[in-house]
């Protein structure tokens, strides 16, 4: 039995877990350059650039993941890669936000902006009454 030390590696994104398992080492592209992580590394928190994450599972197997940026957290016995799911850049985010705002403005254009609590409640009450009526009808049968 080999006594090679291993670390727990988890690569997760907001949408799904990409990898989880023990590995001998991991190499990722941090903002200031590549970092290699071996077991018993000091706690580290780094921002990752878009690039590859290489996970050496054993002598013969290395898995490579391409991530579009993210975060690397290292504990002595575990490594977590918090991968971004999409291309993230400040101006890209800015553009997305602008789009969301534009869509909102479009809605605002088509109607008055004053929130009408009375009307809202009345509408909900009406819908609820309809549902209740349907329920009653159903119970009768």
């Amino acid at each position: 039995m080999s006594t090679v030390k291993t670390i727990q590696v988890d690569i997760v994104s907001a949408e799904k877990a990409l990898f989880s398992g023990r590995a001998e080492s991991l190499v990722a592209t941090a903002i200031y350059g590549e970092v290699g992580i071996l077991p018993n590394h000091a706690p580290l928190l780094a921002e990752l650039k878009p690039g590859e994450v290489r996970v050496k599972i054993n002598e013969n197997t290395t898995e490579i993941f391409y991530i579009s940026g993210g975060m690397l957290e290292v504990q002595p016995d575990s490594v977590t890669v918090l991968a971004d799911t999409a291309e993230r850049a400040k101006d890209l985010d800015e553009a997305q936000a602008l789009k969301a705002k534009q869509r909102a403005e479009q809605i605002l254009h088509e109607k008055h902006t004053d929130f009408d609590y009375a009307k809202a409640r009345a509408e909900i009450a009406m819908a609820a009454a309809q549902l209740r009526a349907i329920q009653k009808l159903r119970d009768k049968h």
Partner: protein, 286 residues
Amino acid sequence: MASTKEIRTKIKSIGNTRKITKAMEMVAASKMRRAQDRMLASQPYADRIRSVIGHLANARPEYEPIYMRVRPAYRVGYIIVSSDRGLCGGLNNNLFKATIESMLEWRNKNVEVDLCLIGQKAESFFKRVGGQIVGHVSHLGDSPQMNDLIGTVKVMLDAYSEGRIDRLFIVSNKFINTMTQEATVQQLLPFPPADEMVREYQWDYLYEPDPHYLLDLLSMRYVEAQVYQSVVENIASEQAARMVAMKAASDNAEDLIGELKLIYNKARQAAITQELSEIISGAAAV
């Protein structure tokens, strides 16, 4: 009494409706299962970030990120997660009801409310009743991408960090089980610092680049992850609600068909009886 032909047509049309509702029920059931999987898949990311933030906040007590600072509320923001489509029972209505109750509370304290809408149903509802809408996204489909949500979340995050809103809430349906979905209002910002971890010695990370920047970045990602989680959970809730509603509709169609068949048979029998008695009385007259 309606003619037998009329009743027959009606039975047929209800039968067709039942076929549709039955199909929708089955589609919703399978979509629900997939949405539940996605719900679970997005959990570890948020958990992990939360624990890192918790540690960072403990290790760096001198720096309190803006996302944790509690300030007096003059204006609050809501992210409302609704579905794109209807036919899912009272799901969206319960959601809007919870939203309005919560909004009213703030209004009674003279606090203004900004809205950020996700989903078509929220759009059409607030279009009708009004409201200060600052961001909107819809048509996310069954498997939403984080990419589609970034803009909407950023609008609110920016508003928060620039001090335009002082609280951020998210309203969405929590998936409890197939039969129960609960509309909940949850506070996103400022988020409470994690409980003090039990540690034997004080330790700290090495940072690349500096901790403040990382802490802010993590906080942002955390909020995004939570919104994403809510959206996915809302989809699971929507499918579950639709499944139940369509099952009820199919059952109702079944009942209706049963009743109509009874009426149909009675009408048919009446027609035969009438014909017979006409023949008999005709024969008697001869």
